[in-house]
């Protein structure tokens, strides 16, 4: 039986350095081409951090979450609110009902990002305490309620924020180096979490819901831990986003963001760090190309006339297509591996068959696909 248990069990430097190097090279390389591409890279790095946040929870536990946008919303809010200029906070029309202490509330940019992480973690910890008691599918649906609650609150509340309007004058990152550094940091955190015993226990519950407790694994506990950490990372993602966009707007963290980041994770392969990275890069690249085509520009000499709105349609279609073709994603749930050019027996790099048991919610694929 040649079933390899997916997931890292010990430190392999190439599995960490590969993604790091790829992200550094691509970010700097593409960012140097033009100013608009540099902005795209910055946004992509924010998305990547969110996809990584999703990966450590969804990928390891097999439980879906649609609620991470709420953490990003909150993280972005506190980071934006504490760094926006006081003058604007005191005078802007959208903020005239702002709670007094918030006007003077000021944090250093990086401290505000840490605050974003903490707020994300806090909300995740509180909501996770009861969400993780639900069975996997119910929890996933319930996280939608979390997202909806968060959106509804921020959209309508003008005491703590600008409501449906934008919070202006949030300081921006000076270039790609700050978001890049943050993204790299998150990659390292995610890698080491994934090889930790907690993550391993979590993956065991993904594979077999009944056997894991028999081994002493408290499923609720490990899910909660992963959920909380991923909440922190999602908060960072939101905080990053607000400093790339220069403004906080609640719609930026709602359905489109949730969909795109989830698509990136699934397309890349939810079971591995490399999958999260690949997914973000591929979807961003495809999205950029489609955007240029939508604008009537040509990419590397090729030109397509795309009607407006076709971009999301194509990405949605790609998501469904990937699921039909290789439901374990482009990476098949594998980590980064330098393909060996020697004997074919030892190299099991990319391109594996999708028979692999890297499915979500521990449905052993051995018994599936049986004449169904």
């Amino acid at each position: 039986m040649n079933q390899k248990l997916l997931g890292l069990t010990r430190f392999k430097s190439e599995e960490l350095l590969g993604p790091l190097a790829t992200v550094i090279l691509l970010s700097i390389g593409v960012g140097a081409i033009s100013a608009s591409l540099q902005l795209a890279v910055q946004f992509a790095l924010c998305n990547m951090v969110m996809v990584l946040a999703l990966q450590i929870f969804v990928g390891n536990s097999g439980v879906l979450s649609f609620g991470h946008g709420a953490f990003a919303m909150a993280g972005a809010w506190i980071s934006g609110m504490s760094t926006a200029s006081e003058r604007v906070k005191g005078n802007a029309l959208a903020l005239q009902d702002l709670w007094e202490p918030l006007v003077g509330f000021k944090l250093n940019l990086y401290v505000s990002i840490i605050a974003g992480a903490l707020v994300g973690a806090l909300i995740a910890a509180i909501t996770g305490a009861f969400l993780m008691r639900l069975n996997g599918l119910a929890a996933g649906i319930a996280t939608f309620a979390l997202l909806g609650f968060s959106y509804n609150f921020f959209f309508n509340n003008i005491t703590f924020g600008p409501g449906s309007q934008a919070l202006p004058a949030v300081p921006k990152f000076s270039g790609i180096y700050e978001p890049l550094a943050l993204a790299l940091l998150v990659i390292v955190i995610v890698y080491f979490f994934n090889i930790s015993p907690t993550a391993r226990s979590l993956r065991s519950s993904r594979e077999d819901l009944l056997a894991a407790p028999a081994l002493g694994v408290s499923i609720q506990r490990v899910r909660w831990i992963a959920f909380t950490i991923s909440g922190a990372l999602a908060g960072i993602s939101g905080a990053m986003y607000v400093h790339v966009a220069g403004t906080w707007q609640v719609q930026d963290y709602y359905l489109v963001f949730t969909f795109i980041t989830l698509a990136m994770l699934v397309i890349g392969g939810s079971a591995s760090l490399w999958g999260a990275v690949v997914g973000t890069l591929v979807v961003t690249a495809v999205g950029q190309i489609l955007l240029l085509w939508e604008q009537g520009k040509s990419v590397l000499g090729i030109q397509f006339d795309l009607p407006n709105g076709a971009r999301s349609l194509i990405i949605a279609g790609s998501l469904v297509g990937i699921l039909l073709w290789r439901f374990a994603g482009l990476t098949g749930g594998r980590e980064f591996k330098i393909p060996k050019l020697t004997s074919s027996k030892s190299s099991r790099g990319w391109g594996q068959s999708s028979q692999f048991c890297a499915t979500l919610i521990g449905e052993s694929c051995l018994s599936q696909r049986s004449n169904m």
């Binding site: 119910a138 469904v320 039909l324």
Partner: protein
């Protein structure tokens, strides 16, 4: 009296939406986000064919929704059978977004509207009380459909097969239940139920845009979780409760009405804290989905 009637009417509507979702979930373990687009397409069709008699207009809408549902099953969901609920859920999410964008391309991003069933607006005096026609009609319609569905599920052969398949799909096939036909039926019925929901909603709010059915679908999904994710009765009950609470909140919150959803989600949280498996569950099940 009117607020109570409104609450029942909205509860009934949400129950129908939840039932459509629950049917498909029962036979396939599929959480079908694209159900929202079945509601949306029904509303679009009704609005676009508004100059035809209502029955005809609705009939076309129901047919369209049922066909769209069957089409999504044939092309996408069938290939994902056996891959697990999470993958199917994500696929349905992607499909939902894809369909939304398609509607945008076909119908445009701006809302389409028409005055549907104008005889349903206004109020009349019944039993000495002043109540809106639309709430009465909606309550009547939803009760009738729920009763019909109850009959279908409990008393017909098709219903028996649906119930069996929802419990144990594999063994049902061993007994001769035709899986493809059964699943197709479930999708078709869910399309028809979606058309009813679309109709009720569009009378109330004649502005149809690509995200028309999204809100109710998400809330209906939450309702299913409250009611008990693996029973049709639970689905309908959960949907009803969500709609009922939402309506009451809308009526009595006054200025804070904008926070209705927040309070609703809070209520959901409390219910789930007490009964993680859903209201109709036996209390402490960690169900294997």
């Amino acid at each position: 009296m009117q607020p109570f009637l409104d609450a029942i009417s909205l509860g009934g509507t949400y129950a129908l939406a939840a039932l459509g979702l629950g049917l498909v979930f029962g036979v396939m373990r599929l959480v079908n986000f694209a159900h929202a687009e079945l509601i949306t397409i029904s509303a679009y069709v009704i609005v676009v064919t508004n100059d035809l008699p209502l029955i005809v207009s609705f009939g076309i809408a129901a047919l369209t929704a049922a066909l769209l549902a069957i089409l999504t099953e044939l092309t996408i969901y069938r290939r994902l059978r056996g891959t697990g609920p999470a993958i199917m859920l994500i696929a349905s999410f992607g499909l939902s977004v894809g369909l939304q964008k398609s509607f945008e391309l076909i119908f445009g991003a701006l809302p389409r509207s028409a005055a549907v069933a104008p005889w349903m607006t206004g109020s009349s005096e019944i039993a000495g009380l002043n109540i809106t026609v639309s709430s009465i009609v909606t309550v009547g319609l939803t009760v009738a459909i729920l009763l019909a569905m109850g009959f279908l599920v409990e008393q017909t052969n098709l219903g028996l097969q649906l119930r069996a398949a929802a419990t144990d799909f594999k063994t049902s096939r061993l007994l001769g239940v035709r899986s493809n036909r059964l699943i197709g039926s479930a999708f078709a019925i869910s399309g028809i139920l979606a058309a009813f929901v679309g109709f009720i909603l569009v009378v109330e709010n004649p502005q149809v845009d690509p995200m028309f059915g999204l809100n109710i679908t998400i809330l209906a999904l939450v309702g299913i979780v409250i009611g008990g994710i693996s029973s049709l009765r639970g689905a309908a009950l959960g949907g009803f409760i969500v709609g009922f609470i939402l309506s009451i909140l809308n009526t009595f919150l006054g200025n804070a009405r904008v926070y209705a959803y927040s309070y609703l989600f809070l209520a959901v949280v409390i219910i789930l804290l007490v009964r993680p498996g859903g209201l109709l569950s036996k209390g402490n099940e960690m169900e294997r989905v």
